[in-house]
Amino acid sequence: MAEIHTSTVPSDALDDRSVSKAEITARRLALIAGLLLLLVAPFLIYPVFIMKVLCFALFAAAFNLLIGYTGLLSFGHAAFFGGAAYFTAHSVKEWGVPPELGILIGTAGGAALGLIMGFFAIRRQGIYFSMITLSLAQMFFFFCLQAKFTHGEDGIQSVPRGHLFGFIDLNQPIAMYYTVAAIFLIGVFIIWRFVHSPFGMILKSIRENEQRAISLGYSVARYKLGAFVMSAALAGLAGGTKALVFQFATLTDVGWQTSGEVILMTLLGGIGTMLGPILGSAIVVMLGNYLATTGFPVTIITGAVFMICVLVFRRGVVGELAASRIGRKFGLARWL
């Protein structure tokens, strides 16, 4: 945590000084427990299910980077997620590139889309920003519907998983799982570093008071665009990985419903927390899987959860926990 103190942000803006030794130990133990859980999970639960959760968790964490730490609600994140899935699937299947390069191409594609969309969207704030991102993502959806390489309604089917670094056969479910877990951890670590960097601090200051950030001399538009591209790139990382796991890329992933789903995951788990989006995506994926077996339409439940969250549960599961009496006593807000 020491590196934070070298930042340009005045140190009284940070509450890390009050962190006790015991708390650091507790934090480390929790982290190790989490890693162990990730390590043994495929032997306890169906691996494909966890991989799906991990892909969406990374997607939601990337989305949260924007809403939670910059205060911008993007309604178009499906474009980066689904777009990257197409890029990865196409490059792996048609160009025969190795999986690691395919995922990188997907990530770069997500970042490029983010740069273009962000360039237009950051011109407006608040709900206009949301409507613009939604419209631009819909435009990308129509592009994907008509473009040759996406194969329209059929999508890109039977994408080969290939060999990671030339020698790890990803057709082995366990190898695929640990690859996804590693990508997830790398992605979340990048987000964590990004949020706690001086850049992240400036983003938070923009979220809290944009006018003041401007008057302090920060080029707010540039920081917002930076955050937007970062978020899009990580959403692309998640989307590209998902294309390899499920071996297809379809229009579903670029549709506005997917943008809504990632908002729900983040809102339900807790906007602006590290763990919230991860927990939220686990709940939403589980709910989706369960409802698929009953035949009851998912959208009714999704809509209801949205409404309930907004009315009584705005901080999300993790946020409410941190704000509760127990949470405050243990200072959970600082590390969830």
Binding site: M131, M139, P297, T299, I300, L311, R314
Partner: protein, 294 residues
Amino acid sequence: MNTVFGVPLPALLGQLLIGLINGSFYALLSLGLAIIFGLLRMINFAHGAQYMLGAFTAYLLLHFAGIGYWPALILTPIIVGVFGAVIERLFLQRLYGLDPLYGLLFTFGLALMLEGIFRYYYGASGQPYATPPSLAGGTNLGFMFLPNYRGWVVVASLLVCIGTWLLIEKTKLGAYLRAATENSTLVQAFGVNVPILLTLTYGLGVALAAFAGVLAAPIYQVSPLMGSNIIIVVFAVVVVGGMGSILGAIVTGYVLGITEGLTKVFYPEASNTVIFVIMAIVLLVRPAGLFGRE
């Protein structure tokens, strides 16, 4: 046969008419959104779903109560408008004073739920709704054949748009509404019941969406998905027009509808996306929107 830029005139006029009809719906819907946004400072994401609800209410009235098109055209906006007012009283009122994003998210959830319910009972395919007999058939205008119902849609939407504009600009109620949009605290201090005004405004906006839904029922089929298909385009229309002006929302709706129709003639591949492209260009040139003020 006459041609314009190599396109046969009847084909051009046909697409122009389709564009004008789409524009009528864009205008009605963006007008409702602008009225709601003006006072409630909230984007009503459920606007598309309420449009769909209008079409379905007309359909259900016909099939379960035998109530035909003309009574439905009056009854449906009232029924759906009251439904909107109830939603506002029960839920939306709790969200005032919060970040407007929560209003957006709540109404998004509402839209998902409404769409999900109708999909559950009626599937994703459309239900046919017959054109009223009094408007069946068409008129030969000499240069083109105009189906009567489509002509009626354009006239009706124009009348309602102008009527709503007059209501807001020329009546006492409209004056209250405009005053509350500027400064609701002060208006409340003058003894105007602002919470009731908010409920009425939301109900009015929703009723406009439902009216558009009834108008649309005989043209497009009555489908649970009709709302989400149109609402994103309407959002783009609203970004282009800027929500500051009622008249701006109406004009932008018609103009973009016609532009979309013309694109279908000259470059069909782009007809789905032309409105989004225009939105992007407007954002570059005039970020506040053509009629917006900021």
